[in-house]
């Protein structure tokens, strides 16, 4: 073999089998975006459970020639494509996460004060305003619905709806949802202060009543019956959520409940994060739409917070025992961050005002509300 042949061989290897000659500016930009999310997850601890795998997924998938998100010559899906296909495309993972969330949730504060369900509904205002706003920017109805649900502040719901209606927006929507959920303590307080007076923030709410284990046990059954009769399309999400909760409250399947809350949920979170991150290839993601999605996602959160607080103000006009309007902002789901924000704002106004458990009611109502909104959107396209 002559030197020229050796050089030619090296050249061929470099060109066809290494990534260097194939890397594009777009891929470098995407890697930087991936690193930004990794920084946010690791250094700032913003939603690390999701942003870390998502960030690394973005970083990983944007290396050229990597066999991760494509198909082989024989049509076999590559590694992360397998996670995506069977987990996200088949809409399995969001529902499994909802199972775990149900098993983790104590509906006591909501059952003790069912009025807070209305706040959960009011806090969906942003979802519908955003839906309308996005339509004006040329998005299709399905795309608009999937972007609008970001304001519901519920990751699995956002992923479930987006995978169903506009899978090409999955990466941007999931990132916007989780990023803004992490930013709830920054986004909500200024709006809360703007919409309430100091006196309103000082309103003390009565201690929640005791909820018996039997009542908690019967809740998933009643909720399934009433919600699924009205919105059958939300059955995969809410059905799993309430099943998880039934396992928890029954107390007889502790092992299953523990698995759903911990091992199962953690496993699917890994696959979900990587899959979602891996959808963000430069050639797909670098477009004007993600920019708009991030802008509208922020608007969505703001209007949802506004809607929740406004709903409490309206309810207070009719209620004998006034509610503290600060708990309205917890109507966006983001459990338990939004409730914590309501609580801390209440403490700032009055160090003896303990709103946490009162805010958990609308917070949990927000989970049901955002799932209901997703169900409404799904039904709309049937």
């Amino acid at each position: 073999m002559s030197w020229s042949q050796v050089l030619e061989l090296i050249q061929n290897i470099l060109i066809s089998q290494t990534g260097f000659p194939h890397i594009t500016v777009g891929q470098i930009i995407m890697m930087l975006i991936g690193l930004l999310f990794l920084y946010m997850a690791i250094a700032k601890e913003y939603e690390p459970l999701l942003l870390l795998p998502i960030g690394f997924g973005i970083f990983l998938v944007n290396f050229p020639l990597t066999p991760l998100m494509g198909f082989t010559e024989h049509g076999t899906p590559e590694l992360i494509r397998v996670f995506y296909k069977y987990g996200v495309e088949w809409e399995v993972i969001p529902c499994v996460i909802f199972l775990g969330l149900g098993a983790m949730t104590d509906f006591g504060p909501l059952i003790a004060n069912p009025k807070t369900l209305i706040i959960g509904a009011g806090a969906q205002l942003g979802v519908f305003i955003t839906y309308l706003g996005v339509l004006f920017f040329g998005f299709t109805l399905k795309e608009a619905a999937s972007v609008a649900i970001i304001g519901g502040a519920d990751g699995p719901t956002t992923i479930y709806l987006t995978a169903k209606l506009a899978p090409h927006l999955l990466g941007a929507n999931a990132l916007a949802a989780y990023s803004y959920m992490a930013m709830v303590p920054l986004i909500q307080p200024p709006i809360m202060r703007l919409m309430t007076t100091v006196e309103q923030r000082k309103i003390k709410m009565r201690q929640l009543r005791y909820v018996s284990p039997r009542e908690k046990l019967i809740f998933p059954l009643i909720a399934s019956m009433l919600i699924l009769l009205l919105i059958p399309s939300v059955a995969p999400l809410l059905g799993m959520f309430l099943f998880g909760n039934l396992m928890r409250e029954s107390g007889v399947v502790k092992r299953l409940s523990d698995t759903a809350q911990n091992s199962l949920m953690n496993i699917v979170t890994i696959f979900l994060g990587l899959s979602v991150g891996a959808t963000m290839k430069a050639e797909v993601f670098l477009d004007w739409k993600p920019l708009l999605i991030f802008a509208f996602g922020l608007l969505d959160f703001i209007v949802c917070t506004f809607g929740g607080i406004l709903t409490v103000h309206i309810m207070n006009m009719f209620l004998k025992e006034k509610m503290n309007p600060l708990i309205g902002s917890a109507g966006v789901s983001a459990v338990p961050m939004a409730a914590r924000v309501s609580h801390s704002e209440g403490l700032k106004a009055d160090p003896d005002n303990w709103l946490l458990m009162h805010a958990m009611g609308p917070n949990l109502a927000g989970v049901i509300g955002s799932a209901a909104a997703a169900g409404m959107f799904i039904a709309m396209f049937q």
């Binding site: 930087l32 009025k115 509904a121 670098l286």
Partner: protein
């Protein structure tokens, strides 16, 4: 206890000392920073994408493109059915084409909207594909044929628009008759003249090529459904609220009845125990309830090493217990501006309310941190990592 007090004191939320103004500015700045962090690379990438032809070719897949209807046609005698998933739908619909008068239906084909796109026509109004309907055997040539298109996808406001590129204004309304048929099916009946404006071949030659598609107002639908669905959520959650209120009442009664079934003597003794306990010495209560006080622990752990070990193991329990005890104590104080009241209904013999005869306590870091501790403990139940 001093150790516990210091621990709790150090844990007091710093945020209480921050002014609203400062935190607002901080929030604003962080959001701006966040926006810059995101928007800058994205703006760069957008600029890059638009300046690069290669990137443009691969740019994010358009939703319109993905939602393009792809009809599949089947013939059943004189009727041709088109099955497809329309834009803004996830389930398929069927449109049935037939010629009821004046000719014979030869074929129906789908047509890309792009071929008929004009600036004045919004693709969003056309959820279905455009269709090319070919009619033959129109006799005599130049006479009318009636096309009937039926589907349960049509609404009362559905129009059928015709496209004829040979005309100066290619798009116009067919003025079809939209009538209700069986069930939810509606029929659009359109009269087409051989060689007339609806006939794309423009000749009265016994065959008609009729291009068009059903049109529904996009914005009308979008706004209408927006309104209905938003209030739909209120409806759903209101129904759930009513259901929960009813079940709450039901369970409260069951609990009350259960309590009633328990012996009156037990309840009476319980109430007197509670009253006694309020006025008793805390150490006596602890002893009665089997809780070990520090005094006891000293007896159990006579040497320093054992004592240290005991404290190491029990420090968490002590802190939590101290926090809970303090918080409960102050909670009773703060909620009790009135003298002691013991209400007991004859029917249930249940102790309704017990309050302390002390004046309202001033809130202090002890009570605040005790409550914070309790809240933090309770919040663990909800800690789902925002997943």
């Amino acid at each position: 206890m001093t150790k516990t007090y210091n621990y709790l004191n150090n844990k007091i939320w710093k945020s209480n000392n921050r002014t609203i103004w400062n935190s607002s500015i901080a929030s604003g700045l962080i959001i701006c920073l966040y926006a810059i962090l995101f928007l800058f690379p994205m703006a760069l990438s957008t600029a890059y994408a638009s300046s690069n032809d290669k990137q443009n070719k691969n740019a994010m897949v358009s939703g319109q493109e993905l939602e393009k209807p792809k009809p599949v046609f089947t013939r059943n005698g004189g009727e041709i059915s088109a099955k497809f998933i329309p834009r803004a739908k996830s389930t398929s619909v069927i449109l049935n084409f037939k010629v009821t008068k004046g000719g014979k239906l030869l074929d129906v084909k789908g047509m890309d909207f792009e071929k008929a796109a004009r600036p004045e026509v919004d693709i969003k109004n056309y959820k279905s594909a455009l269709f090319v309907v070919e009619i033959g055997d129109v006799s005599p040539a130049g006479s009318d044929a009636t096309v009937n298109i039926s589907s349960d996808f049509f609404a009362s406001g559905t129009e059928y628009r015709v496209f004829n590129e040979k005309l100066p204004q290619p798009w116009f309304n067919s003025e079809c008759h939209n009538v209700a048929s069986k069930g939810r099916v509606r029929e659009l009946m359109i009269t087409v003249k051989d060689g007339g404006p609806f006939d794309s071949d423009g000749q009265a030659n016994g065959s008609i090529t009729f291009v068009g598609g059903p049109r529904d107002s996009f914005w009308g639908y979008a706004l209408g459904t927006l309104f209905i669905r938003f209030f739909g959520i209120f409806l759903v959650l209101s129904v759930l609220m009513i259901g929960m209120m009813l079940s709450g009442m039901f369970f409260s009664r069951i609990e009350a009845k259960k309590a009633e079934k328990k012996s009156d003597d037990d309840l009476k003794s319980t109430s007197s125990d509670v009253v006694d306990s309020i006025f008793s010495d805390p150490e006596t209560i602890a002893e009665e309830n089997g809780v070990e006080t520090q005094h006891h622990s000293e007896e159990i752990a006579p040497n320093a090493e054992t004592e240290a070990k005991f404290f190491d193991e029990a420090v968490d329990d002590y802190e939590i217990a101290a926090a809970i005890a303090t918080a409960l104590h102050l909670h009773f104080q703060t909620s009790a501006p009135t003298p002691i009241v013991i209400e007991k209904t004859e029917s249930t013999a249940t102790l309704q309310r017990v309050v302390c005869p002390v004046a309202q306590a001033q809130t202090n870091t002890w009570s605040n941190d005790g409550r914070s501790q309790i809240m933090r403990e309770r919040q663990q139940t909800y800690n789902r990592g925002n997943r």
